[in-house]
Symmetry: D2
């Protein structure tokens, strides 16, 4: 028996997503994203975001992020992001590749969050000369890599810093749904109304097989995207594969249900582990991920009980917090799939070990 | 009523492919292509090709081709191919992007086929100086863009020309299955035994949603592929999506059945149209595509009858053949999906118009 | 004794250029092209072209061309040029590198010249789909690789075709001075007044060591150039090296004197060879290069007499013209340096052999 | 009256370099670096380094560094260097451009120097997965950006760390001569004998106009360099321009004389400023640069006296050292050109202000 909290991508697709894909399979449809399902999905997204948008569907979050950043960056441009952001740390240089050698500069911040002060000082400290790459974009992860969320006000404050200095604001929304249900606000409030210019709207982690959308809120960011997508091999000839997943995902607020399920599981897990000896939370649980500092004994006990999770870098710990001897910082991720009983199994194992 | 012969990608997935995907959906699996289905598919491919291989699954033919070519090309290298090859004409510069500015040089040839003489002369005519990009790869399309097939002997002759000059041989096998069943030979005979070094093994056009494999027969071509795939956003986190399609595609020779079905439809269509006034075949039908020269009246009549197809460039016509006034060269593609009755509908419309 | 007509770059710098460099050497100056000599040279160029311009100095024609084209091309853009243009044939893919994978498409034309008809048809024939790279630039070589010149009217006709289709017009002016003195018109008439948007203004071949300028007539093409130059390693810290060469080159019309000298030498050589048995001119001599078709005996005799020159590709021969058995098409280039006696030596050798 | 200590590139060329250039100007020579002067210079460099080498001449240090790093890096590779290294901070992303999106990772260290511990831990901390860019190169600056030198033993220790982990060692020798004369060792001892695999051998700052060499000590790093150089526009057609500068630079140990002169000036300046109130040295003066912390009054006084210099980032200050209120860290660079009287002028101004 095992409890797999390694990642939100260990699950397959949720039932409504799979059903939509099966339903979309019959009959001929025009190719390369001109099919009626794709057109419908773009309309659904526009309605969701309460405005005209351009949305391009792709299969991976790495593609969505790299395309979005490339659309905003000159090849000699600089993108600022948190030093643990997925775009700088986990995409094997995809943004640098798509943007032809642009650079990402990582900034520190507790729990994966950037502060307006850190961002503003970092930009202002950069020399202004043709010898140095100019800052052009800031990329925010929502939820952060450490599972925290930016409120609309926090986003607006960061966007104000960025816009005042001529930068574009990108949001990596790989866990956008988890942040949204946590905050209880609208997609518009969490994005363009707060100053986000372009969004990677993730669906893979939260119930699809492989479906992401690049959503541009500024028309001039769109011009290049179709060529960039085709040229990077991300324009599916049978576009219905991506569109159908989104169709099932968005219909009847299924995506919000999935996110609520995952967040609830994480909250239950977080609460259950919080009081156990040998465990302390690294920071609050705000979405679908729990970050905990385990004693070496607890770490061994949880693994022995079949709990699967990954270690995490301590770079995002708050000032003053640090790992003690033998302690490990670990991440437990709840996808849309786990049952409360899975969560309770881990809690039980922890309590048993922590006694 | 309409008969859609626009492309092999107007269809969805075939039933066994869809079933395999549905079956693969349950339960957690490790991410990024380390799941058991991916491992099984790689084994199936190795068995199919009768040797050890490296196989990387991706979602599009453009990605497969661009990754394969990039693995063989320096950024200053030259790839020779037919002047109508998909890699040079229909991928918006994906090979140039993935290979960081490498160049493709198109060569002429009837029916999309390269001849050893044309290839050898083209390579030998290139200056040898650091001012000129050196030839490093030849890319063959199997079947060609014009629906013809290379026999194993023809491939071997081309590969001999290439290898003698230090070039690597890539095969764009977007319609590999169609060529294979036409020729009645083994996958090994049609690839590495004839000198192919790296293959884009297509499955999308022949029954999958979006599934292709880069298959390398030379180990030194493999080293870079995993990094290139990740960095281009083509490493799916939920790898089962690609693997399950291949699982359904390869199992019980389903892929060969699909190809036989499509080729038979094309043969039936070709034979039915061949004798009709106002129609002549541009060249023989050897796979799942029919290329016909239509009088303007016939063109109008077929469209009026609901037949959907695309015009085609006359560049690949044989020497001496040319389009008369008002004539159009068109392509009709049979996917795995059409019923004989669809084909017969087009033939009937043609005969009625040609009377 | 030898007569070196291999290239215009076998010479060093002309005396006034060298003197200007020596004169510029003393004392400290600010770095990276902010020195007073650079500023003066930019003013001289503006006066020469009778308008505000942006001019960036670099050391090589390849750099000038690649920077200029990259400033006009998206990474997925297409540049049309003559099939023998330097940018497509002799720069090892520098434009493709600087423009991040953009593509050059070579068009045919006698004597290296594009015609408005060929250009217009080539652009109009391109498919308009995101699968295909869109045409964005046409590059003209002045003089052409085959030593012919475009008149202002011919340039205007080509520019009209290009601009009507949204393309930018680049001129590779590696031999701009030679064309200018041949045509007897002003630099403005030969460039922006005829529709040229960006110019590679060559000085190396015509008397400098290594000095070229990218001159942009449209301000929006300039924005990226300074970053592109620095990032490609072409921003010299001691900018006076480039500027001083230009100072000597432009002052007192020295550059025009050099070009007149070279053209006169070529005209003398051309006239002297024209009537000799075993020699016929491939096309007229309009700048500083003579293209001649030699019998094998004449070829051997000239080489035996110490004449140094290179063979040339027959692709640019007029329709109907072709090389007979044993015949060779060769290029003899006159730099600013050769004395009339050098030219006469070759003519004498030819006459002696042709008797 | 002014004392210009802004940079070593405010000077022109030293006399012997200029003389060699003038001497090289006459008569025809073959193009593209096949001239006899280039061949002689490569031999001189081989003798200097006491072994077979490959050396490519280019005009800028940015080009030399970017070519060298690109030759060692996959497009998805990681180069580690000091966080203030020229390659990461002052080249507008040239290494990222030439290496097609590779990444540079800056590490801390007092006075611009990397320690073996910092380097080893940084490499070892990197995740090993295709999602992360693998470390492939370490780049050392000799002298460092902060004017300190690495001893042969220090280089060997860093190279041992790098080689044990499969990394290649690059040295940015923009101020190689200054380090060499400071240490009193041989070029071989300071490079390949200590484990350096590829060197940017600078000559521009130390007496040339624009002349640098990429010197590869491992043959497999050379293969791509000629193509990369041509394709980046750095292959001069009149190669004598670069070669002649090197000829004058290397002949009769002129380069060492220049470096000794510059270092002596810096030492004199450093000693003269050290005891003055309102000035303290940031770290020792080991080459041709003095880094001093000035009180605001001293800063104003020196500027008022006509001393030209640039502020410097405090990132490289030793742990515990920090700027007080109003204090500025500044850099004063001595080129080969200044007279002792220039130095003494600055010292006099400082003493007068510090009284």
């Amino acid at each position: 028996m095992s409890f797999n909290f390694a990642s939100d991508n260990v699950a397959g697709a949720s039932r409504p997503v799979l059903d939509a894909l099966v339903a979309a399979n019959g009959g001929p449809m025009p190719a390369y994203g001109t099919d009626p399902i794709t057109l419908r999905v773009v309309s659904m997204l526009a309605e969701l975001f309460e405005r005209d948008i351009e949305a391009l569907l792709v299969a991976t979050g790495t593609a969505a992020n790299a395309l979005a950043l490339a659309a905003c960056l000159d090849p000699w441009g600089l993108c600022l992001c948190h030093e643990e952001a997925h775009v700088i740390d986990d995409e094997c240089g995809a943004p640098e590749f798509f943007a032809h050698g642009a650079k990402l500069l990582g900034l520190p911040g507790t729990g994966g969050k950037l502060s307006p002060e850190t961002l503003g000082q970092a930009i202002d400290r950069l020399p202004r000369h043709e010898k140095q790459m100019p800052a052009q974009v800031v990329s925010l992860s929502q939820a952060t890599e450490a599972g925290l969320v930016y409120t609309p006000d926090e986003i607006a404050a960061l966007a104000a810093v960025a816009h005042a200095r001529g930068l574009v604001v990108h949001m990596d929304g790989a866990r956008f749904a988890n942040a949204l249900v946590q905050l209880g606000c609208s997609p518009a409030a969490l994005t363009w109304r707060a100053g986000v210019d372009i969004l990677s709207f993730g669906a893979t982690k939260n119930g699809c097989f492989a479906a992401e959308a690049v959503i541009a809120f500024k028309p001039d960011l769109v011009r290049s995207l179709r060529f960039r997508r085709k040229r990077s091999g991300h324009t599916l000839s049978k576009g219905r594969l991506l569109a159908a997943q989104f169709d099932g995902y968005l219909r009847d607020d299924h995506w919000l249900d999935n996110a609520r399920h995952a967040n609830a599981a994480a909250a239950r897990l977080s609460a259950g582990l919080a009081g156990v000896a040998g465990i302390r939370l690294a920071w609050p649980t705000q979405a679908n991920e729990v970050f905990a500092i385990l004693s070496s004994g607890m770490d061994a006990a949880l693994k022995a009980a079949g709990t699967i999770y990954h270690p995490w870098s301590p770079r995002s710990l708050a000032d003053g917090e640090r790992l003690g001897p033998g302690e490990a910082l670990v991440r437990l991720v709840c996808s849309f799939a786990p049952e409360p009983s899975d969560v309770d199994g881990v809690i039980a194992a922890a309590r048993s070990a922590g006694r």
